[in-house]
Structure formats: structure tokens, C-alpha cells
Amino acid sequence: MRRQLGLHLPIWEQYLLYMSRILQGDFGYTIRGNQPVLELLLTRLPNTLYLATASLVIAMAIGLTLGFIAAYKRGTWIDTTLMVTAIMGVSLPHFWLGLLLLFLFSVQLAWLPVGGQGFGSLILPAVTLGLTNAAIIARLTRSSMIDVLNQDFVRTARAKGLPKAIVLFRHALRAGMVPVVTMLGLQFTYMMGGAIVVENVFGWNGLGRMAIQAIFQRDYPLIQGFILIFAILVVTVSLIVDLLYALLDPRIRYR
């Protein structure tokens, strides 16, 4: 066992060995079952990505719309109600909201399955994760749009007689989206973190569920592999977001 895990080597040699194997695509074997770690992780990865993507779509659809409305109607009761709802949404623990939704829709109404891996089983976890993140996006969109709506170019566009809708959607929306998109990268990583918890609430077979089981079983090669894969995902997403950023804001150019 010691020899198999390379524990007889000094720590820096263990590290070098581990890293050189990683670069060759060898993540080692799990302690329990002796399965290849990378293969195991890759079979679970799509499930986590489905969940995170579906949540992101839900969060953006709700968050952007409500944040935009709140900014447009700022200072009115609509704005206040939306923002009070948003701060409550930010404070809701994922796992609690998940349990409540599970109780309501799966146990009481029996509309959706408890657990399972089909499309129907994806709805509740995605909504759970999406709703809490929608609150964050709504708050951000609102403050960003309020900033933009107060700027000179918006006033100029209105003053030269452009209809309100065109100014709002073509001029203001695009400028207002820049900080929101920057935040989306962080949002996505935050969502991946939330996915770990939500997967465990609903029994969704993603990376997060496997990671928690691995921690309980003290399956260190699997935990290490999980952390590495997760980190790679996060960095990739940040890179994509940085590139998107340049697309939205012509003032930024990467040479």
C-alpha cells in the first residue's frame, strides 16, 4: 500500500511524480475499488455541467429581467419589493431551499421525482441553484444599469429624439452588461461550488456528490483529482469570460 501510493518517497518527489503523471493523463487509482480516477471523474463531469449550465440560464433569465426592471423603476415600490426579495434570496441557504422545494413538489404535490437522474430530476436542483444566484445577479444588474442610465450618452440619445425602448435596449443595456458579464465568471464558479451542495440534497450524480463520498471514504487520490479538475474548470471559465468582456466593450482589446 505504501509503495503503491509512493509514500516511501520524500514529499517533493511524491509531488513531482504526481504532477508528471497528471501531465500524462494519469490521475492514479481510487483506494476503494482501484478504478482510474480520471475516468471516474469524467463520467460524472457532464452531470455537473448540465446542472451548472441549467442553473446559470435560469439565474440569468430571472436575475437580468428583474434587475433591469428594478433599475428602470428605481425608487418605486416595484424596485423596493424586488430588492427586498433579492436580499432574502441571497440569504437563503441552497440546501434549505432545495429541501423545501423537494418537500413541496416531490413529496406533497408529487409532480417531480425524488432523486433519479433524468431530465425531470434536473429541474429542482437547477431551480434551487438558479434562484439563489438570480438574486445576486438581480442586485448587480440593478446597480450597474442605474449607473449607466445616469450617464451622458443615454441622456444624449434620449435628447436627440430616439424612442425610449431603443435607448434602453440598444444603448443602455449593452453598456450595463459589462460589469454583469465580468461577474458571470465568478457566478459560474460560485455556482459550481453550490452544485456540490445541491447535488447532495437531490442525489444528482455529479462531481460534487462523488467528492463528498470520497471525503467520507478518505479516498485521497479521488479527492485530489476532483480538486484539480474543478480548478481547471474554474480557470477555463474565467478565461472565456475575459474574452467575452472584450467582445462587449470595444474599448478593451487584447493584442
Binding site: V84, I87, M88, V90, S91, L92, P93, H94, F95, W96, L99, L100, L102, F103, V107, R139, R142, S143, D147, T189, Y190, M192, G193, G194, I196, V197, N200, V201, A211, I212, A214, I215, F216, Y220, I223, I227, F230, A231, V234, V235, S238
Partner: protein, 298 residues
């Protein structure tokens, strides 16, 4: 030490509570209704934690205090769990753990983050580069992942969960401190102090520290809510507080088995978590707006 921004707000809210006008900053915070509600909730939480043994009707771990899985009633307002323990008593005692988690975790991340950020911004040069690039690297791992990794190494327990959550947030506090310190050290008062020949210790502790504390208080207040949420999540996953403990996340975890028979097992601990997190969010938002009256970053 008030920042100029805080003093400007003094005249704005004409509060009837005149004694408050002695402390303009506090008045500005309380003029915000959300912050006032948040403050009241925090006070309730603190009182519940301090007086838990006196106000809780039963011992939190006493089994058979009532019938098993009894629905909420006069004798047990929040119902009882699968061992006949009184949920209300457990929720009240849980407030002690929650406050403890929040304070210890934030204490760890604030202290370490402050040291790293302040050192990096003050020292500059290679030390700055090493420290801040290191922080950047760790920051990109996201807090949940760092906390999970820390628990995986340390093993599941409430203490380790606090440490894990504390460690996970260090990069965030380091970045905030670094940013604020960079701004402060370019201000005339600091340059004047350097020109007057102040020693390093004096520059750091008498000049810089008092000016970087106010923004950090905001971050720390909001940080308590994040820490409470993260620690509750760890306990819920079974990686934090372990079963007999009346920690709210752990209560939810054991209550989920009885979701169809005894939904009150998951309603009240969850509500307690949500309200505590909301309290610190509201308070933190209020303090931030009072510090920055333009409310741009709402």
C-alpha cells in the same frame, strides 16, 4: 476614526432620536430601515446565544423530552425530533454554535488576510508580488473548494469546519486590505508622515491601520453571513458539526430523512440559518451604504 464620507451623512437623516446625533455614523446606519432590522435580528441572535440555558425549555440533547416526531404544539412550539428532543430548545442552543462559527471563522480570515494584504501593499517589491500572486492563485480555486479540501485534510468536525471556512476566505480579505492600503498610502497624510520620519511600526499601526479598519468592518460583517452559510453547508453535508450537536445545518441533515412525516424538522433550523444570514447581510449593506452615501455599489 471616521472617513469624510461618513461625516457628510450626518445632516441627511433628521433622526428624532437625538442622542444618536452624538454618533453620526451610527445614526446614518440606523436611518436605513434594512440595517435597523438586521441589527435587531443580530441582537436577538446574541441574546438567544447568551441566555440559551435560561430561555430554552429543555436540554438540547435530552431525549424523550416529548413524544417522538411530535408536530408543533404548545408544549413543543417547534415540534420534536426522532429522539423526542425539543426542536425549539435545540434551535436556541444552535445560536451559540452559529455565532461562534461566524466569529471564529471571520476572525481567522480577517487576521490572516489583514496581515498578508497590509504587508504586501506596504512592503512592495518582490514580497508584494509573491504574496499577491499567491493570493490570486488561491482565489481562483473558489471558497467552497478550499473549504472542502481543508476539511478533507483535517477530517470532519465542527472545529475543523470553522478553520476550513476561515482559511477559504483569507484571499478575499487579503485582496480587500491590499486594495484599501494602496489607496491610503498614496494619500498626502501618509506621505507627510513618511517625510516626518515616522518609523515603520508607527506608519503601519498609527497611520495606516485606523484608516483601513472601517472598510474592513463592512467586509467582515458581510463575511459573517458567508461564513455562517458555508459552515452550515459543511455541517449539512456531514463534514462539520456531528449529530448530537444542535448545529442547524446538522439538524437539517438528520431531519431530511423525515421530510414527508415530519417537515417541521427541516423548517425551523433552516429558517434560523436564513434569518441569521439575512441579519448580517442587512447590517453589512447598511454599514456600507452609510460609509458610501452615493450608494453606487448597492
Amino acid at each position: 476614526m471616521h472617513s469624510p464620507a461618513a461625516i457628510e451623512t450626518t445632516s441627511a437623516p433628521r433622526s428624532r432620536r437625538t442622542w444618536l446625533s452624538r454618533w453620526p455614523f451610527v445614526a446614518a446606519v440606523f436611518a436605513n430601515r434594512g440595517a435597523a432590522i438586521g441589527f435587531v435580528l443580530v441582537v436577538v441572535l446574541v441574546v438567544a446565544a447568551l441566555l440559551a440555558p435560561y430561555i430554552a425549555p429543555f436540554e438540547p440533547t435530552r431525549m424523550g423530552a416529548g413524544p417522538r416526531l411530535a408536530a408543533p404544539s404548545l408544549a413543543h412550539p417547534f415540534g420534536t425530533d426522532e429522539f423526542g428532543r425539543d426542536i425549539l430548545s435545540r434551535v436556541i442552543h444552535g445560536s451559540r454554535l452559529t455565532l461562534q462559527i461566524g466569529l471564529i471563522a471571520v476572525g481567522i480570515s480577517l487576521t490572516a488576510g489583514l496581515l498578508i494584504g497590509l504587508t504586501a501593499a506596504y512592503a512592495g517589491g518582490w514580497l508584494e508580488r509573491i504574496l499577491m500572486r499567491g493570493v490570486d492563485v488561491i482565489f481562483s480555486f473558489t471558497e467552497t473548494l478550499i473549504a472542502l479540501a481543508a476539511v478533507a485534510v483535517l477530517g470532519p468536525s465542527l472545529t475543523n469546519a470553522m478553520i476550513a471556512v476561515g482559511i477559504a476566505a483569507i484571499p478575499f480579505y487579503a485582496r480587500v486590505t491590499y486594495g484599501v492600503t494602496l489607496v491610503e498610502r498614496n494619500k498626502p497624510y501618509f506621505e507627510a508622515a513618511v517625510a516626518a520620519g515616522a518609523a515603520h511600526a508607527r506608519l503601519l499601526f498609527i497611520h495606516l491601520l485606523p484608516n483601513i479598519i472601517p472598510p474592513l468592518i463592512v467586509v467582515a460583517t458581510l463575511g459573517v453571513s458567508t461564513a455562517v452559510l458555508a459552515a452550515a453547508a459543511l455541517s449539512f453535508l456531514g463534514l462539520g458539526a456531528q449529530p448530537p450537536s444542535p448545529e442547524w445545518g446538522a439538524m437539517l441533515a438528520s431531519g431530511r430523512e423525515f421530510i414527508s412525516r415530519a417537515p417541521w424538522l427541516m423548517v425551523f433550523p433552516g429558517l434560523a440559518i436564513a434569518l441569521s444570514v439575512l441579519a448580517f447581510n442587512l447590517l453589512g449593506d447598511g454599514i456600507r451604504e452609510a460609509l458610501d452615501p452615493r450608494q453606487r455599489k448597492a
